[in-house]
């Protein structure tokens, strides 16, 4: 007998390598070129969750990642499977979410010949992936998989794609190469620059009107506790971006809420008037700056802390730049603080409180309005609930009024703003954290972009609570047409809407409909009491608008408030 080690199948090497990376679940959808892999999957302990559309599985992997901090994994077949993943890859790329996206590919010998279900998915996704691999030799799978996970989760995270030709998966008796990474060209920035830490501490102590502007980088770095300490110690007010929701709870006394297009009046005034802006893990997105970096925080010294050097001075000119991990840098600044006096922010807080008192939006708690629903929902769901949203007015109402959000408990499509994200993201979140409550806040337009995933909910018995703010229109578009196009409404009516309660019931999911204010609390309580999934279809008026709002092309202080 020969001493030679019998090799294994390419697909098995892949699954073993995934297991080594700690993968416990793959969100996938099979197809022709993936047959060898789906066969091998039967013998692997890795769980596979079958979606109903590839866009759903990549959103689910994304939701899984956002609520765990782990790398999400999805798998689609060649051609249409791969192209259906594209939107989800773009979404993860723009929000810096770590994913490993596995796509099937036609056999290596057929690549380039326009064979059945062949697309150049690496070419198509090059601008929206952090990196990508075409595997030509199954022996390289252990290294490629290890590198892909490493690249996806380190530095500024993002999606990495691995394209898997059928013959690579099907090859038998493969003896794999070592998984040693060869990433000489890949750089990760972690260590902060010491001289600059002192400088930040110094300008902070000299500042009279400081603001800290926190974004997704704070959440990614797990820096919420350090941020809170920082806020407690320095009394610096904090504004967050949409991606930064949860980095400092709204109830924290230093929190001024969200900044930008639908931010709070106080947050926007504060950023405009501050003399020091400490920007942490943000990229000065145009939804915050109104697309006018040169008119943003013009009175302030700007300190920019980000892990991606490309973001520094991309939009706004900054005085102090620190490339590094938000948690590490904030911790180092905290350590340096005792050497300097605390900033005197008494007058500043008087001003901020005054703005806040004058601009708190009042609403009638007895009317069925979005804020009322959000607050009631927050109260009933409780602080440790995971929230996912879709895109539209309801997304902004959730951001503005949903009260308590813990870190890593919020999944919303920010950079891409893609409708249809919420339901699959909720699926991913519930699968990642089966013991936690997951609530989806969606709109009637968005929901119908992923409505087929109710099948995934039913199949996996996921107790997601779906809160549908049903206004019968593409509300956000309607609002723009109302405000900026003389109420000339064009293509916003969703007259063919189904009876959503019946749709839910058709999938075996409990449906509750709500038509008046007095039904809200009871319905939500019932939803959370029920052990399985529930859809609560809440009829709201199409006339509700998201306010405040900074109109396009205006400074962030020029808000429409009512």
């Amino acid at each position: 007998m020969s001493e030679e080690k019998a090799g294994i199948k390419g697909a098995t090497i892949l699954l073993n390598a995934l297991q080594q990376e700690g993968v416990d679940v793959i969100f996938g959808y099979p197809g022709g070129v993936l047959l060898p892999l789906y066969d091998a999957l039967l013998d692997s302990p890795i769980r596979h969750v079958l979606g109903r559309h590839e866009q759903g599985i990549v959103f689910a992997a994304d939701g899984y990642s956002r609520v765990t901090g782990k790398v999400g994994v999805c798998l689609g077949t060649s051609g249409p499977g791969a192209t259906n993943l594209v939107t989800g890859i773009a979404n993860a790329f723009l929000d810096s979410i770590p994913l490993v996206v596995l796509t099937g590919q036609v056999s290596t010998g057929s690549i380039g010949s326009d064979s059945f279900q062949e697309v150049d998915i690496i070419g198509i996704t090059m601008p929206i992936t952090k990196h990508s691999y075409l595997v030509k030799d199954p022996r390289e799978l252990p290294r490629i998989v290890k590198e892909a996970f490493y690249i996806a989760r380190t530095g500024r995270p993002g999606p990495v794609l691995i394209d898997l030709p059928k013959d690579v998966l099907a090859q038998e008796n493969v003896v794999p190469f070592s998984n040693e990474m060869k990433l000489k060209g890949y750089k990760v920035f972690g260590q902060a620059n010491n001289g600059k830490i002192e400088e930040v501490a110094k300008v902070l102590s000299e500042s009279r009107k400081p603001v800290l502007y926190a974004g997704g980088g704070v959440v990614t770095a797990g820096a919420e506790d350090v941020l809170r300490l920082f806020a407690d110690k320095t009394a610096v007010p904090v504004v967050t971006t949409l991606m930064g929701i949860g980095s400092l709870p709204l109830e924290h006394p230093n929190s001024l809420g969200m900044v930008g297009m639908h931010g709070t009046v106080t947050a926007n005034y504060a950023v405009d008037d501050c003399d020091l802006l400490i920007a942490v893990g943000v990229r000065f997105d145009d939804r915050v700056t109104s697309g006018m970096g040169h008119r943003f925080a013009t009175k302030a010294k700007v300190v920019h802390i980000d892990i991606d050097p490309v973001e520094i001075s991309k939009v706004v000119k900054t005085e102090i730049q620190i490339v590094g991990d938000a948690r590490q840098v904030l911790a180092e600044i905290l350590e340096a603080l005792p050497g300097f006096a605390n900033p005197d922010v008494t007058d500043w807080w008087n001003q901020l409180r005054d703005w806040r008192e004058k601009n708190t939006i009042q609403y009638d708690k007895d009317r069925l309005t979005p804020p009322m629903v959000m607050e009631c929902l927050g109260e009933i769901a409780g602080g440790d609930t995971i929230v996912t949203t879709d895109v539209g007015q309801h997304q902004m109402w959730a951001a503005q009024y949903y009260p308590t959000v813990n870190p890593r408990n919020y999944a919303t499509s920010s950079g891409l703003g893609v409708m249809g994200y919420g339901l699959p993201a909720a699926i991913g979140a519930q699968i990642a954290r089966p013991k936690d409550k997951v609530v989806l806040i969606t709109g009637d337009g968005s929901f119908q972009m992923s409505i087929q995933e109710l099948g995934t909910i039913a199949q996996n018995k996921l107790p997601v609570k779906i809160i549908l703010l049903n206004n019968g229109v593409l509300g956000m578009v309607r609002q723009m047409q109302k405000m900026f196009y003389n109420e000339r409404y064009s293509q916003i009516e969703l007259q063919g809407n189904p009876d959503f309660v019946k749709v839910a019931e058709a999938y075996g999911i409990r449906g509750i409909s709500v038509n008046s204010a007095d039904q809200v609390r009871g319905a939500l309580e019932e939803a959370f009491k029920h052990p399985g999934p529930v859809l609560v279809d809440i009829t709201i008026s199409e006339h509700e608008n998201v306010l405040p709002m900074v109109p396009p092309g205006k400074d962030i202080t020029e808000m429409i408030v009512r």
């Binding site: 070419g123 952090k130 990196h131 060209g185 750089k187 050097p309 490309v310 520094i312």
Partner: protein, 159 residues
Amino acid sequence: MLHTLAVLVENNPGVLIRVAGLFTRRGYNIDSLTVCQTEDTELSRMTIVVNGDDQIIEQVRNQLSKLVVVHSVSDLTGESAVDRELALIRIQVSAETRSAVLQTVDIFRGRVVDMGRTNITVELTGDIPKIDAFVHAIQPYGLLELVRTGKVAILRSEA
């Protein structure tokens, strides 16, 4: 201002498209781009001449460095670097102009690499202004064809 960037990249298929794609996507203008082998078989070297102010160049460098296939980026603009370009130039000649053309070639230290009845082909190496000047000088005689390699550059050794 024109900057010359030396970019060490992995010697793999697909690297060129990643780099070139980045330039189109971000709206940076490539003046010239050359790719060649290096002393290390695993690495290729791109010399990219790009136009932009300091802020743009900083962005380009950072964006390039971010690509996993890019090992290093250095700016070889200015005094500290030697740069050269090679040009092959076909020039029209007649009995009357031949000696004047050859004299010009001589002054610029060019070499005649091919000669026909009505034209000659000249090889010229030098920095970009020199090649531009030569092209300008022979223009009146009839410039038939011009091929330039694009700039390559290397850091001067520290004295």
